[in-house]
């Protein structure tokens, strides 16, 4: 088993190689941060002028509202988890590998809730050259502290 190191070249990558695991924990404070930074206000469909700060009903920041929902408690945003996976990939490959033909798919399997500590692990499942570009496909899964599957991802990178 080989664990890839930072800026590994395409020719040195093999199917089965692993990328370093990445752990991250959520708290209500960390889940509130995107909203405090204002970047998800519009996405959740509620305008700040109509729903002043603290009165926005969503399952990420409003515990009472979230109780009645599918998950029964606040959960993080799926696209936030994609940001974490982006960060995990950056530990090995520069962000440029996403641009110019890269992709990421994330499927939420279970909720990522307050106090969950999720460990993401992944490995290379394919490498190929298409149209002059070197592609590396990586599969990732995230398990929480009880080994519950939180989500799975497939990442395709363009690697030099």
């Amino acid at each position: 088993m080989t664990i890839l190191t930072k800026n590994t070249k395409f020719d040195d990558i093999n199917i089965g190689d692993e990328i370093p695991s990445f752990e991250i924990e959520e708290t209500q404070e960390t889940m509130d941060k995107p909203q405090k930074n204002q970047w998800n206000l519009i996405d959740i469909g509620q305008r700040e002028e109509e729903f002043p700060r603290g009165e926005q009903k969503n399952i990420h920041n409003d515990e009472e509202f979230a109780k009645a929902g599918l998950f029964g408690a606040t959960v993080n945003a799926g696209v936030t988890t994609m940001g974490y996976i982006n960060q995990m990939i950056e530990l090995i490959f520069p962000s440029e590998c996403f641009y110019n033909g890269g992709s990421m798919t994330y499927k939420g399997i279970g909720p990522f809730r307050v106090n969950d500590l999720v460990k993401f692990t992944g490995s290379v499942v394919e490498k190929r050259n298409e149209d002059g570009k070197n592609f590396v496909d990586i599969k990732i899964k995230g398990l929480d502290q009880t080994s519950r599957l939180v989500g799975v991802a497939e990442v395709t990178l363009v690697v030099k």
């Binding site: 930074n37 469909g45 599918l70 960060q87 440029e96 990421m104």
Partner: protein, 158 residues
């Protein structure tokens, strides 16, 4: 107010309908704010200069889905935005694709459209596609965001 309560339930969602466009400028502050929100400590996103790249998943901030805009274009109110009995449409999955780098100084224009809706084992899903272009009208990225409009009765994930 009656119009505001014309709920955009799964049954009335139509594929192909698009919401309005928004244009945002990528700034050092927007790059830093997003990186901070997702706790990415990579120094390249802090104090970035013109021409430096944004974190790829920054598209979720710079080109927000804005499903309420699509609902409004269709003549409805998004479920999250209803005054009476608002309901979330939680994330199920998302695929993002990047075609060109997104850099500080770029002006990013985006809009969302309904790509498809489907029923799977009693759960009802809608997939939106967010189309993203830069100031040169070059397609730089897109993402397909699937949310659960209604889940099968009795289902509870814990």
């Amino acid at each position: 107010m009656t119009n505001e309560e014309k709920r955009w339930e799964w049954e009335v969602v139509e594929e192909g309908v698009s919401g309005g466009q928004i244009t945002v400028e990528i700034t050092p502050e927007s790059v830093e704010s997003y990186a901070d929100a997702v706790r990415n400590t990579n120094s390249r996103y802090y104090g970035a200069n013109n021409g430096d790249i944004a974190m790829p998943t920054n598209i979720f901030s710079d080109a927000k889905l804005r499903r309420h805009s699509v609902a409004e274009a269709a003549g409805f109110t998004a479920l999250e935005k209803c005054i009476n009995n608002p309901r979330q449409t939680p994330f199920a999955k998302c695929t993002a694709r990047w075609f060109e780098a997104i850099k500080v100084g770029d002006k990013i224009t985006s809009f969302a459209s309904v790509l498809e809706k489907y029923d799977k084992r009693g759960n009802q899903f809608v997939t939106f596609r967010v189309h993203i272009t830069n100031q040169n009208d070059t397609k730089v990225a897109e993402f397909d965001y699937t949310c659960i409009f209604k889940y099968a009765a009795g289902q509870k994930l814990s």
